[in-house]
């Protein structure tokens, strides 16, 4: 047994602050790049698993203990008034506009705080303290933050977040290079910097990727840090303790032993993030923006003259976290208190399980608008991986427990309602509930969701009678006399004859179904849905 007293040797070479900071920055970017690369694979595997679980047949009812466990999970979230008194469409529209204005104001305040912080720390980071340099620093930081900021604004801005953000990023990079006191960087440095920023942007702002990137990034970065920090701290001392021949073996054994606890801690941190999200501390829209700003702050500090000259103090190392905290605090203060719990109209979105981005764009747009006045329900499907950012689902998939989200059989209306998240978060955004069902559960669940919802979007773009799931839903709306709640979206591929035939079989006049042409746009669709909900 070797004598391990040498591990406590104060004279052993220790890691410098600059090296440690460099390692942390490197690991964060490696984790982000790994998450960005892995996310399409995770998404493909997630979709395949959802499709398989949707085909499941229940053969034995679940014990009462399982339902109690599901209920317990749902009870953890804040409650909201359940009975929704009918509101006038104008009132609902005004409420939506108020929530959007409040969110936009807070986002702009946070943007200003982010930019001003860059100006404030210019001297600490080794930039010139001249007012002109500080203003230029603030401008570069503001340009970098444009993408994450746009993504958190109402839809008319957020849909251009990636394109406009990339332009702002390029402008920021050009300005930053021009004001660099060290003169122009080498071409390789500029390419590397541009690649790093592009990865941040695409990974965290791309609409259909961010839902997978974020959870994988959180787990990867925590795991890497937990794995690397003890290894780095002990590495030099281990070399002193153990002869050269066994150092490599000891290192690999250390990695093997630490990997599982590190992964476990990574998943616990992700669970903590989800816990905060469930309690409404942030929304699925603002979190990716906040993470992008945090990674950007880290890149900013890592590329500063002070760090490049290896003058890294504890203050400098803490600056990215402080920067992010100041930005988040400004956002929270500008938002004000949690909005009062109000009775909210519920929207059910029924759709064909399409993977086309054009279809997703309209659904996402209507979701974004509706969630400022009420919750949205959807039957979960493999296509939603590209539409919604749901950290909980991705995290559950990563831990191999996606099946726990699926309803095995029809739950009663009250039980189903108690499982739905009906409250708004602190930003005023209501939840999007993806209700996953086994094949033995979805028909009854759809029926119950139709009953509890105030308005139903029936997306019939590309519909033909062969789409048996959607055909069942059309028939159900007719049979249950719920057509008045529905607005059917069609396109040039919609086979309206099949729709009329299905409604005829349900002995309902097809003229009762409100049709909507997708070319009329999101605003018109929103107005139609408000009119239905306010009936």
């Amino acid at each position: 047994m070797p004598d391990l007293a040498c591990l406590r040797d104060a004279h052993a070479a220790s890691l410098s602050a600059a090296d440690a900071f460099g390692w942390i920055v490197g690991l964060v970017f490696i984790a982000l790049a790994a998450a960005a690369i892995a996310s399409p694979l995770v998404r493909a595997r997630y979709r395949a698993r959802v499709a398989r679980l949707m085909a499941f047949e229940q053969v034995l009812p679940r014990p009462a203990a399982w339902w109690q466990h599901m209920q317990h999970r749902a009870d953890a979230a804040p409650s909201a008034p359940k009975a929704a008194p009918p509101l006038a469409a104008a009132e609902l529209r005004a409420r939506a506009a108020h929530v959007e204005r409040r969110g936009a104001r807070a986002t702009l305040v946070a943007w200003a705080a982010y930019a001003l912080f860059a100006a404030a720390i210019a001297g600490v980071l080794g930039h010139s303290g001249a007012i002109g340099t500080r203003v230029a620093d603030a401008a570069v930081a503001a340009l970098f933050a444009a993408g994450p900021v746009l993504a958190n604004l109402p839809r008319r801005w957020s849909r251009h977040a990636l394109a406009l953000g990339s332009l702002a990023l390029a402008a920021g990079a050009a300005l930053g290079t021009a004001i660099d006191p060290g003169g122009f960087d080498s071409a390789s440095d500029i390419v590397l910097g541009a690649a790093v920023l592009a990865v941040i942007y695409v990974a965290l702002l791309h609409r259909s990727l961010r839902g997978q990137v974020l959870p994988v990034f959180v787990v990867a970065v925590v795991t890497l840090l937990v794995l690397a920090i003890p290894a780095l701290l002990l590495d030099a001392r281990v070399e002193k303790c153990i002869d050269v021949a066994t150092v490599a073996t000891t290192r690999s054994a250390l990695v093997v032993v630490l990997t599982l606890p590190a992964l476990w801690i990574g998943f616990r941190v992700l669970a903590g993030v989800l816990w905060l999200g469930e309690r409404g501390w942030f929304s699925d829209v603002s979190l990716p923006s906040l993470v992008a700003l945090g990674v950007g702050a880290l890149a900013w500090v890592a590329g500063s003259p002070a760090v490049e000259a290896e003058r890294v103090s504890a203050t400098i190392a803490a600056l990215p976290l402080l920067w992010l905290a100041v930005t988040a605090l400004a956002y929270a203060l500008a938002l004000g208190g949690r909005p009062a719990a109000v009775a909210a109209p519920q929207l059910l979105m029924l759709r064909v399980f399409a993977q086309r981005s054009r279809q997703h764009a309209l659904l996402e747009a209507i979701q974004q608008r509706w969630r400022s006045i009420g919750p949205i329900h959807q039957i979960g499907g493999p296509d939603l991986a590209a539409l919604n950012v749901d950290l909980d689902e991705c995290a559950t998939y990563l831990t191999g427990r996606l099946h726990e989200l699926f309803l095995p059989e029809a739950a009663g209306v009250e039980r189903l309602q108690s499982l739905l998240r009906m409250h708004a978060d602190r930003e005023g955004r209501f939840a999007i509930n993806e209700v996953f069902c086994f094949n033995t559960a979805w028909r009854h669940t759809v029926e119950q969701l139709m009953r509890v919802s105030d308005a139903v979007v029936l997306d019939l773009r590309g519909f033909t009678g062969h789409r048996r799931g959607t055909a069942y839903e059309i028939g159900l709306l007719g049979h249950e006399a719920l057509l008045a709640r529905a607005v059917a979206i069609g396109d040039v591929y919609t086979n309206w004859r099949d729709v009329e035939s299905l409604l005829g079989e349900a002995r309902v006049d097809p003229a009762q179904l409100a049709r909507f042409d997708e070319r009329d746009g999101v605003d018109a669709l929103f107005d139609r849905l408000l009119a239905v909900a306010a009936r």
Binding site: A51, R52, L53, M54, A55, F56, E57, Q58, V59, L60, P61, R62, P63, A64, A65, W66, W67, Q68, H69, T249, T250, S252, A253, V256, V257, L260, L263, W264, V352, F353, G381, T399, G400, R401, H403, E404, P408, F438, N439, T440, W442, R443, H466, R467, R468, G469, T470, Y472
Partner: protein, 109 residues
């Protein structure tokens, strides 16, 4: 691709069992075990992996890895299923058999 079966115990806990070769178990048995909440097995597998890493020379390590890869991959799901059934877990839901017709509605939705 094996057939998936979902087991439940009296306390309402769920466990998914896949039939066929498990790539995760082949690559990392501790991870496979953790995913299924088989914590004792995860720790034992971790200790064995560390011992193999430290105690064997590189050639023996390579042979041990190949043997573990094939054995764990081939046996893990079968052993898991036997373990569940002996402990009183029961099948609560399952995938339709490959020979059965596709379930209505879901794929064509």
């Amino acid at each position: 691709m094996g057939r998936l079966r979902l087991y439940v115990d009296e306390r309402g806990r769920l466990a998914m069992n896949d039939a066929g070769f498990s790539w995760l178990a082949a690559i990392s048995l501790p991870l496979w075990a953790l995913q299924r909440r088989l914590y004792v097995l995860a720790v034992v597998a971790l200790v064995v992996a560390a011992a193999v890493n430290v105690g064997l020379d590189p050639n023996a390590q390579a042979i041990a890895f190949v043997v573990q890869f094939l054995a764990f991959g081939a046996l893990a799901n079968r052993v898991h299923r036997t373990w569940l059934e002996r402990r009183g877990w029961r099948v609560t839901a399952e995938e339709p058999a490959a020979s059965a017709p596709a379930p209505p509605a879901v794929p064509e939705r």
